[in-house]
């Protein structure tokens, strides 16, 4: 499908919240999509419809509702697999979100495979969710946590990865496909190929990539990949862990309880097949079913079209912002190397003050450390402002962002 800016403009009608007025009757300009995206009617209606017409627990009872719910739930698993070009949908594990996925791997895989003296490698631009679980694991195991630093352009210094791999002690390299602060797209294939040669496992945090670009997991060939549904039009509380079947089969369970068991006796239990071994308890059925509609919606537009739309918005915004005196932009200057995320500071005005002042104009951005304090330390700032784009954003909205920054200048007499 050839998508034009009119196509993208047109799909705004599917998002009721975008008609909202906020504060002093200002039109909402929602630019906090890296935190969570808005939901189209298709997703909202699917959840309502599920509760109105099909609500039931899954995988157990034989009645009509249970069958319908189970079918819709499992159909979503197949849809996710197809969306990511995963051949076997048993490799798709539903979880609450990226954070839970990384914790699942650090707990269930990490505790069996990481020993004293081993090294886990992460990067300076990770979200806390890809740092803290590894701190806990390496502290417990007396292993070491190492960082690939970033250069002045906000890109990973790949020689450091080589040095770590050369020690022969690395068990896992874990990094985000795209930085949630700088927007930098990691050299995923290069990292994976280096790790393959060294026999090292790879985990990719796809929270910021799967919503915005075509991701083909068969082609990438990592070992683990995790992401969240709510950053890609889906409901909160749904995420996906993908891992190769042979790894999942060998892994110990994470949470224990219903649905993850085959047979339970007084003192021993055998585990259920994949993926159910990792889906203890009643899952988030309604939201998983709603998530299917989010994927359908994105597929209809086409992931390459989405990437191009965001690239265009990012170029436009960067051009405009560069011209504002007192703006500091973080991350690479080459738009092709980044996603639709722009972190910036405005003179010495604290990002919270910027956020509050432009919020009065209806502009929603994120101010703070973005759960990336290691990166903030590196950039030597307490916080940044972050504008992040999605399919429904327009150039006109970026103009509103730019003019709202002039209010900040006025208030702070810059």
């Amino acid at each position: 499908m050839q998508a034009t800016s009119e196509t993208f403009e047109d799909l705004r009608k599917d998002f009721p919240i975008l008609n909202r007025r906020v504060r002093d009757d200002k039109k909402l300009v929602y630019l906090d999509n890296a935190a969570t995206t808005q939901k189209p009617n298709q997703v909202i209606d699917a959840i309502t419809n599920y509760y109105k017409n099909h609500n039931s627990n899954i995988h157990r009872a034989v009645h009509a509702l249970a069958e319908e719910s189970t079918e819709a739930f499992e159909a979503t698993r197949d849809k996710v697999a197809k969306f990511l070009n995963v051949k076997d949908s048993r490799e798709i594990v539903f979880i609450r979100g990226t954070t839970e996925g990384i914790n699942l791997v650090s707990y269930a895989w990490g505790r069996d495979n990481v020993k004293e003296g081993d090294i886990i490698v992460t990067t300076e631009y990770e979200h806390h969710s890809n740092i803290v679980p590894w701190q806990l694991l390496t502290q417990e195991k007396k292993a070491q946590l190492k960082y690939i630093d970033i250069d002045n352009n906000g890109e990973l210094i790949m020689e450091q990865l080589d040095d770590y791999l050369n020690t022969g002690k690395v068990k896992l390299v874990t990094f985000s496909h795209m930085s949630n602060v700088l927007g930098t797209i990691s050299p995923v294939k290069e990292i994976i190929s280096k790790c393959r040669s060294a026999g090292v496992k790879v985990l990719i945090d796809g929270a910021q990539s799967v919503p915005h670009m075509k991701v083909d997991l068969t082609d990438l060939d990592s070992d683990f990949y995790v992401f969240s549904g709510h950053k890609m039009l889906g409901p909160t509380g749904v995420g996906v862990l993908w891992a190769k079947k042979e790894i999942l089969e060998k892994m110990s369970p994470f949470l224990a309880g219903g649905d993850m068991i085959r047979e339970v006796h007084k003192y021993e239990t055998t585990w259920n097949d994949l993926p159910y071994k990792f889906e203890a308890g009643t899952p988030n059925i309604a939201d998983v079913i709603g998530f299917a509609k989010a994927i359908e919606y994105l597929e209809k537009i086409g992931m390459d079209n989405i990437r191009n739309h965001e690239l265009e918005l990012t170029k436009y915004a960067l051009e405009k912002m560069k011209k504002i005196p007192g703006i500091t932009l973080y991350g690479t200057k080459e738009p092709e190397k980044r996603g639709g995320v722009i972190s910036f500071n405005f003179n010495d005005v604290h990002p919270h003050d910027v956020g509050t002042i432009i919020d009065k104009e209806g502009v929603a951005i994120r101010s703070g450390h973005h759960c990336a304090q290691v990166l903030m330390e590196k950039l030597n700032v307490a916080a940044t402002n972050r504008a992040s784009f999605y399919i429904y954003n327009t150039k006109e909205e970026i103009d509103v962002l730019i003019s709202s920054l002039q209010h900040v200048a006025k208030v702070f007499k810059l």
């Binding site: 005005v349 604290h350 990002p351 919270h352 003050d353 509050t356 002042i357 009065k360 101010s367 703070g368 450390h369 304090q373 903030m376 307490a382 916080a383 209010h407 006025k410 208030v411 702070f412 007499k413």
Partner: protein
Amino acid sequence: MSGDPIYTEMIIEYSRNPSNYGKLENPQITRHDSNPLCGDSIDLYLNINDNRISDVKFDGKGCAICMACSSVLTEMIKGKDLSDVKKFQKDELLSELGLEHLIKTSPVRIKCALLSLKALKYGIYSYFAEKMNDIESAGNLKEEASNLY
């Protein structure tokens, strides 16, 4: 944007030129506190002589509201008797800067406004407990600090 309910002349001025900004040499009390969500982070330094706050400074990074409130708080407590300081309430600080409305309008930004007061209450709580053996005041201060926002 004249008449902005938050960014008054006074707040902007204090954020540009905070009062009592810096470190004390060998302070008797040092208290660090931060707001994990927004990243405001300050250190409060206090010296106490004859049960009076003989000197006070603060430093750190924060938004305009945080800097202005920390400045005004240090101005208000400098030279004051500890028996008065322990009774100091958030309304006194907020009204000094015309920010009382934040309690109702902005549960997020109120944390910026009250961070320094939280540091103060926690800072003098152990002084009351250890140096003055006033367990009751110490207990009250600790409870007030933890319930401030």
